[in-house]
């Protein structure tokens, strides 16, 4: 009953892969690789310079007149502040505070007041002595001198915690769309109403999510991402052409008969042949000897 059947390879036929499309020479590939890395470095440098120039600009903020203050910043300044901050990491933000302090401004970018100078020596200050015990703290004098007031310290740190820890050139697409909220948003009615109206139309919650999803997908496919304008691998998506109409798998009659004795060994469509075939051969040999005796 042994049916002579050539063993079927479980490996996919290598010919089913299209020949690798690397017709370029080694030099060309090396050059591509070098260019790719040079571009990465360049984009990183560009972002670092952008952050430096933004920091320089933000030293002199707020630009608006004395009508506004930190609790009610001008809408234009607030918007510019948020836009400039987008590529910042917390460390860049700290550097901005230091630079503002050097120029005697309050560390919070949207505050027009000078920072305080504590009189008297000593490295530490005791605060919260009048309130409840939980308000009591000992802080470095230097820390207090960064701001014009406690409120501004809170405003500045409220912004800081929203900044992304990862450098801008490594961020995912969705992260580069981060929205920064202020503890004290602009209060002037006309502008803020208009702004909110605009947001209502353009970026409802769903819209926002959709945008993020699209951005994430684009990044995953390698279409986007600030650093990867030109990836190392040229990805071309080629749809598989379907020539016949799809049909469900079926148990073919003649196919079945040949496999019946080993079918119980089948694992996910694959039948290990080694053990079963040897056993079969042993059986046959034994039978032969029986007859001879």
């Amino acid at each position: 009953m042994a049916t002579t059947k050539t063993p079927k390879s479980i490996l996919k036929k290598s010919s089913s892969y299209p020949a690798a499309a690397t017709t370029s020479s080694k030099e060309e590939r090396d050059r591509g690789l070098a260019l790719y890395h040079a571009r990465l470095i360049q984009s990183r440098k560009d972002i670092e310079l952008e952050i430096l120039l933004s920091t320089e600009t933000l030293i002199d903020y707020p630009l608006a007149s004395s009508l506004y203050d930190a609790s009610n910043p001008s809408p234009a300044d607030a918007k510019a502040f948020k836009d400039f901050l987008r590529p910042f990491q917390p460390s860049d933000y700290d550097a901005l505070i230091v630079e503002r302090n050097i120029n005697d401004h309050c560390g919070y970018t949207l505050c027009p007041k000078p920072r305080v100078r504590e009189t008297g020596g000593g490295k530490y200050r005791v605060i919260g002595t009048r309130g409840r015990a939980k308000d009591f703290r000992v802080v470095e004098k230097e820390e207090l001198e960064k701001w014009c007031s406690d409120a501004c310290a809170r405003r500045a740190l409220y912004v800081r915690v929203q900044l992304s820890e990862s450098p801008a050139w490594e961020r995912e697409a969705a992260q580069s769309l981060i929205k920064i909220d202020l503890l004290d948003e602009p209060k002037s009615e006309d502008d803020s109403v208009a702004e909110e109206l605009g947001q209502l139309h353009l970026s409802g919650e769903e819209e926002q999510e959709k945008k993020q999803n699209t951005a994430n997908l684009a990044l995953e496919r390698g279409d986007q991402g600030r650093a990867a304008h030109h990836g190392l691998v040229d990805v071309k998506i080629q749809e598989k052409e379907v020539q016949r109409s799809a049909e469900p798998p079926s148990l073919d009659e003649d196919d079945l008969s040949g496999r019946l004795d080993t079918m119980h060994l089948t694992l996910e469509g694959h039948t290990p042949s080694f053990g079963s075939r040897r056993e079969r051969r042993d059986d046959e040999e034994e039978a032969d000897t029986d007859w001879k005796i």
Binding site: L52, E56, I59, A95, V98, I102, N103
Partner: protein
């Protein structure tokens, strides 16, 4: 009353110490500028403490750093050392990338982006090729990033006063470093059949490299005294 006098004496002593520090930094900076090849007279370099006080100390007994700025021009020898020899590919090479140097002492208690930007703008406006900013405090990291950002217009180097109190190249354990001209570098590499990257290296941030204002790709000859071999030379590539 005695405590009042005490305070005054202490103040004067502190002032004297400050003056002496500034004088030493001043001397070192002048020696550095001259060692690089700029023209400075001996009188300018070897100023005595007394003369220094007479020149720069105000009536209140403190030295005004604002008055301590100076500039110097490269000597002919220096121009030659920085010149680009004509090659087959470039028969008319660009002129040497060197020019007037300007040195300023900054008194500010903190040095940030603004001060650095002002210094850069001043250098550009006065057509100074190189600027050295000597500060009494550390410069913020953000401000240091201004230097590469303006590198196409002007070269800025920064030093701390504390780093200039002694001239490190005068120390007996520091061997003599001599900058090679481009021609000398080419000859050296040909003689030993080397690529410049095969030479040992010296970092741009190395104190002696900073003292000499070395640039990436330049080669220095280092001459050491040896008890057994007299003098011997080695070469390093600045990276």
């Amino acid at each position: 009353m005695s405590s009042e006098e005490d305070r005054k004496i202490k103040q004067r002593e502190a002032g004297d110490r400050e003056t002496a520090r500034l004088w030493r930094a001043w001397r070192t900076v002048h020696e550095m500028v001259r060692d690089r090849g700029y023209t400075l007279s001996d009188d300018e370099v070897n100023i005595s403490l007394e003369d220094f006080k007479r020149e720069y100390m105000g009536s209140d007994g403190s030295v005004s750093r604002a008055n301590m700025k100076f500039s110097a021009n490269p000597s002919d020898i220096m121009m030659k050392r920085y010149s680009n020899p004509p090659t087959d590919r470039e028969p008319n090479p660009p002129p040497p990338d060197i020019g007037q140097i300007f040195v300023e002492f900054l008194n500010d208690t903190s040095v940030g982006i603004k001060q650095m930007r002002n210094f850069a703008q001043f250098l550009s406006s006065q057509n100074h090729h190189t600027g050295i900013l000597v500060t009494s405090v550390n410069i913020t990291p953000a401000a240091l990033k201004i230097i590469p950002a303006v590198a196409s217009e002007t070269r800025i180097e920064t030093f701390l006063e504390t780093d200039l109190l002694v001239n490190i190249t005068h120390h007996e354990l520091v061997p003599t470093h001599v900058l090679l001209s481009k021609e000398e570098k080419t000859a050296l590499l040909q003689r030993y059949r080397l690529k410049d990257t095969q030479l040992p290296r010296i970092q741009m941030g190395d104190p002696v490299a900073r003292y000499l204002g070395l640039r990436r790709g330049q080669v220095v000859k280092i001459i050491r005294k040896s008890e057994t071999a007299g003098r011997y030379a080695s070469y390093r590539l600045c990276v």
